[in-house]
Amino acid sequence: MSSDDPLLEVNGVSKRFGPVQALDRVDFEVREGEVVGLVGDNGAGKSTLVKTIAGIHSPDAGEIRFGGERVTISRPTDATALGIATVYQDLALCDNLDVVANVFLGQEEISPGPGEVSRQLDETKMEHRAGELLSSLAVTIPSVRTEVGTLSGGQRQQVAVARSLLGEPKVVLLDEPTAALGVPQTKQVLELIGRLRERGLGVVVITHNLANVFEVADRIVVLRLGRVAGDFQAESTTEEHVVSAITGAGAGDDNREVEDERRD
């Protein structure tokens, strides 16, 4: 399913905020068509790692490789240009605009004609493409002309994910996509993540919810105090192993193996 080279590779990345070592020589990778769950306690460095990949923080040390090549991501637009899309927890949708407008926000299609400023938005084209995109994700939204503010939390999450796919990214980073969602809506979003994998995207899901991770992830990476405290194949591990890696209480065997390998 996946090629030999990882799509996105983070090697020995460190990041310090004043006295706090937020990331300490972190190694991390995502392959094509792979869903990686990124878990850890509050303050373990999950968000910092994602923000570093997304270009919001620049790392103090270490390297990021994308498609096998070393890249510098110093601004969010750098990440977007490479094909790394990020969906943040607070979604960043405009509730006063409809689904089409939100999907195309900042990347509106305009009709051909003279004048950069006066040209008309190509609503027909945008509506058509938004409709295609959403139906390819089997998203359940009554109409693409619905105001986003009237949608449920799960639907809003779906719109946010659809928007991130507009630039045809290769890697999608999802920050707490199921936080504050009910059971059926969580299911919708997990199914959506599954469809992203089917499209061959590399998906990174940050979450607190271990049940969700086991349901959707191929691999689970545990961060603890800014370090990688475990890297598990979801199929061959148990929740206890992951929990002990998160809390650091009597770290499991797989965990120690991984740590040893990495130190070599």
Partner: protein, 408 residues
């Protein structure tokens, strides 16, 4: 007219099973204020009925023509105010800017003998420049727009006194300038304009419909479109018929309508307009989407300044003079109150340019009607204040209900 346009352009036709849902949705929108415009049109009808019962000259062609002339300046200023409100900001300087721009135009055109066109352009540019400055201070330094433009209100009033000099009042004798508000076209021109409006509207609506059908986004039925075109046609024909039976179609009304249509196009159909709504709806979302927030803000304040200047110039043209009170007294409050009464939210992201026209009509009708009844200024202010308060309360309630329904 635009109210119907807006609603008919809503969601694409769906299966029959969703009809009841659509109806419930319409009801909810009406209650929660998204359809405020329809409510305002009904309110306007009630106001007109009341004044007509009290004084049967109210709906006469002469008085309706006067009403149109009275609302032109406020309506033009309100167009800029709508843009500022869409951002969720406020511009308290528009009244003072309108006075200053008119004074600059008059001093250059009358005292210094500039060509009237150059003088008008200079007046408008003064407004644009002021808007650019205020917008830049607001966006660069993060000073609340309320404070920046309050400072502007004082400063530009001072500048007005400075420009007028010791005389304190200048009469406008230049016919090109006075002609702006005092030109009436013949019946034939009125009908030609009505025909052009209807024709262009129908053509634009039809080509939009064709494109949507071609893309498989809409049903083939032309009925909703025909209703919209018919509505526009009726409004245009009735308006021209009324105006023609008095002095004819006023140039001032044409100017107002042209700006309403043009700026509505910019707000609803262009990328810039979309960005204005986005910034007003959720600044953080707009920033992350890569929208140049600062540029949008500065541009919006420049629009507000320019429209204020244009409104001020029309007001001076109608008054045939500028004086120390130009752009003063209640002009600012009415220019802001109008769009809010007609459904543009004070909280940003919701509203439309044509609420400037509708709001000016409501406020203008109240003021005009009370003048006909020879009520005192005291009563006029209190009634207008009451209407504004009710409109703002409705806006706030609508917002609370949206929040209660999980829509922030």
């Amino acid at each position: 007219m635009s109210a119907a346009t807006e609603d008919a352009a809503g969601p694409a036709p769906e299966d029959a099973g969703r009809v009841s849902g659509t109806r419930a949705e319409t009801l909810r929108r009406f209650v929660q204020g998204d359809l405020a415009s329809l409510r305002v049109v009904l309110g306007l009808a009630v106001i007109w009925a009341i004044f007509q019962l009290q004084n049967d000259r109210f709906l006469s062609a002469e008085n309706l023509t006067n009403l149109m002339l009275q609302i032109t300046a406020v309506g033009l200023i309100s167009i800029g105010v709508v843009y500022v409100l869409l951002l969720g900001e406020i511009d308290l300087s528009v009244g003072a800017v309108s006075g200053l721009a008119a004074a600059v135009m008059t001093v250059l055109g009358v005292r210094h003998g500039w060509s009237p066109y150059l003088a008008i352009a200079a007046g408008v540019l003064v407004g644009t420049a002021i808007g650019l400055i205020q917008g830049a201070v607001f966006s660069r330094f993060g000073v609340p727009s309320f404070v920046v433009t309050l400072a502007g209100l004082l400063a530009w009033q001072g500048a007005l006194l400075q420009v007028l000099g010791s005389t304190g009042s200048i009469n406008i004798t230049e016919p090109k300038i006075t002609g702006l508000a005092n030109t009436f076209y013949s019946d034939a021109v009125g009908w030609v304009v009505a025909a052009i409006v209807i024709g262009v509207y129908a053509a634009v609506a039809l080509s939009g419909h064709r494109r949507r059908v071609a893309a498989g986004l809409a049903g083939k039925s032309l009925a909703p479109l025909a209703v919209r075109v018919a509505l526009v046609a009726v409004v245009a024909i009735v308006t021209v018929a009324i105006l023609n039976s008095d002095r004819g179609l006023p140039l001032a009304l044409l100017i107002l309508l042209a700006f309403v249509v043009g700026m509505e196009y910019v707000a609803k159909r262009t990328r810039f307009g979309r960005h204005v709504y986005a910034v007003g709806g959720n600044v953080e979302a707009a920033r992350r989407a890569g929208i140049p927030i600062d540029r949008v803000r500065v541009a919006v304040f420049a629009i507000a300044g320019s429209m204020a200047a244009i409104g001020g110039i029309l007001a001076a043209s109608r008054l045939l003079a500028v004086n120390q009170n130009s752009g003063g007294s209640e002009l600012l409050l009415l220019a802001i109150a109008g769009p809010v009464i007609a459904g543009t939210s004070l909280f940003g992201g919701r509203g439309a340019v044509w609420t400037a026209l509708l709001g000016a009509l409501v406020i203008g009708s109240i003021s005009n009607g009370m003048d006909l009844l020879a009520l005192s200024s005291a009563v006029k202010f209190m009634v207008t204040g009451g209407v504004l308060l009710i409109a703002v309360v409705i806006d706030a309630i609508a917002r609370q209900q949206r929040q209660a329904a999980g829509r922030v």
